[in-house]
């Protein structure tokens, strides 16, 4: 059943202070809406439980993308299009730019925001593995003040996060120290545009003298939260890449992930594909490191 607009309320304070004041006065009452590409889908279907919405789309403080010598700071309501079209994002953070290009069609990318993807907290969200491997840090803000949270500590369980009801995600910081890395990302889904991932890997790494110096791996859709593969990374550090390593890599990875059967895929398929993607990345890491 289609929702009746008059059952809802949407207010537009137009400033960060204004939004935070509302959230602080009645924390659980207000649901922020940024680009609406998750919220409005539920609303249109008459399935949005929250009746009171507060508009973030016209809050200028959340829109900025700032570049510093050591990091970039992405305002929470920066859209996928603005990320894809940003020179530094596409040059230094290609995994994020690529994920942005996958997130629905162009109309969706013009509205969907990075902060919305994070707060919506779907384990299948496409930009979240990239944020994990880039060691993103979030700034959360409320009238009580600001706090910084490493992104890898943000999700605590299926659709559960450390965000308090009176808080917003203000920005996402990415350190600018991965430009020399080999990067790899692949989304496996029914179709490239507009299909939710069955498995998605974001990975980056660096080799010197044939030995892995640093490697970051993160997977979507294989656990209740987007997952950084810390144990598999540990196993790889200081190793030479050789096919004899791949068996151990797959076994370690299987220990780390918790895939399920659902309408899009099966746990077995996801496990096999997750292993294949990591092995494919290691192949690329070897090939590109040999070339440079």
């Amino acid at each position: 059943m289609r929702a009746d607009p008059t059952d809802y309320k949407l207010v537009s304070p137009g400033s960060l202070q204004g939004v935070l004041s509302l959230l602080s006065a009645e924390p659980k009452r207000w649901l922020p809406i940024a680009g609406g590409t998750d919220v409005m889908v539920l609303y249109s279907a008459g399935k949005l439980p929250n009746r009171n919405l507060v508009n973030l789309w016209n809050v200028p403080e959340l829109r900025q993308l700032e570049v510093f010598p050591d990091r970039i700071r992405i305002g929470a309501t920066c859209t996928y299009s603005s990320l894809r079209n940003h020179a530094i994002v596409s040059r230094e953070f290609p995994l994020l730019a690529t994920a942005a290009s996958w997130t629905g069609g162009i109309a969706n990318q013009n509205r969907g925001t990075l902060g919305g993807n994070i707060a919506n907290a779907s384990p299948a969200a496409d930009s979240l593995p990239a944020l994990l491997v880039y060691d993103a840090e979030l700034t959360l803000v409320s009238l009580r003040g600001e706090r910084r949270v490493p992104y890898r500590e943000f999700h605590t369980g299926y659709k559960k996060t450390v965000l308090a009801p009176d808080e917003l995600i203000r920005d996402i910081s990415l350190p600018r120290r991965f430009s020399g890395y080999v990067t790899y990302t692949r989304k496996v889904g029914a179709r490239n545009a507009q299909a939710i991932s069955k498995v998605c890997l974001a990975a980056l790494g660096r080799i010197a003298n044939g030995v892995i110096q640093d490697v970051h791996l993160a997977l979507g859709s294989v656990a209740p939260i987007p997952l950084r593969l810390t144990e598999t990374e540990q196993l790889l550090i200081a190793k030479k890449i050789h096919s004899s390593l791949f068996g151990t890599v797959r076994r370690t990875l299987i220990q780390e992930i918790r895939p399920i059967d659902d309408i899009r895929s099966t746990a077995r398929y996801r496990t096999a594909v997750a292993g294949n993607l990591v092995v494919e990345f290691l192949g690329k890491l070897t090939a590109e490191s040999a070339r440079s």
Partner: protein
């Protein structure tokens, strides 16, 4: 609770639609699509899926392609909206409209307004798109009649030939 933040049942949304300033008294959670169709009589934008998947409700908002079924009208306040009704210059069709006609890019017509606006948006951003860029630019717009080939041809045809230097 600050009363100025409390929305009344309706509010006034002011925006430019196809170049004309419009003030409409509507509920802020009305979808832009419904306001265009029901309040302003602009029925070019269609409702297909109502969940952002099909693109038949696409319009331009501040020059950017959006699915109007997913825009609460309050978020369009102060913006500049262009619908399919606004792209021809009086009786002179937009080059993309002409190209869709000539290439058979429209059949039942449900997807056509959205397809053309997606193509307008694409050529605005990338005046000389590659075939892959045309496909990507239209990937959020579904068509169940043409099989897409004629649509891609229409867009390619509308591309201004590069001026020889």
């Amino acid at each position: 609770m600050n009363p100025s933040h409390e929305a009344r049942a309706t509010s006034t949304v002011s925006f430019a639609v196809n170049g004309e300033l419009r003030n409409v008294r509507v509920h802020p959670m009305e979808r832009l699509l419904d306001v265009l169709r029901n309040e302003l009589g602009l029925t070019g934008a269609k409702e297909g899926c109502g969940e952002g998947e099909c693109g038949s409700c696409s319009v331009l908002m501040d020059g950017l392609l959006v699915n109007s079924c997913l825009v609460p009208v309050a978020q369009a306040d102060g913006s500049n909206v262009v619908t399919i009704e606004g792209i021809a210059a009086r009786s002179l069709l937009h080059p993309l409209q002409q190209a869709f006609l000539e290439s058979g890019g429209a059949q039942c017509g449900i997807c056509t307004p959205g397809m053309i606006l997606a193509a307008v948006h694409l050529l605005e951003k990338k005046p000389q798109p590659t075939p892959a860029e045309i496909r990507e630019g239209l990937a959020g717009n579904l068509c169940r009649c043409t099989g897409y080939t004629q649509i891609f041809e229409a867009v390619a045809k509308a591309v201004q030939p590069r001026v020889a230097r």
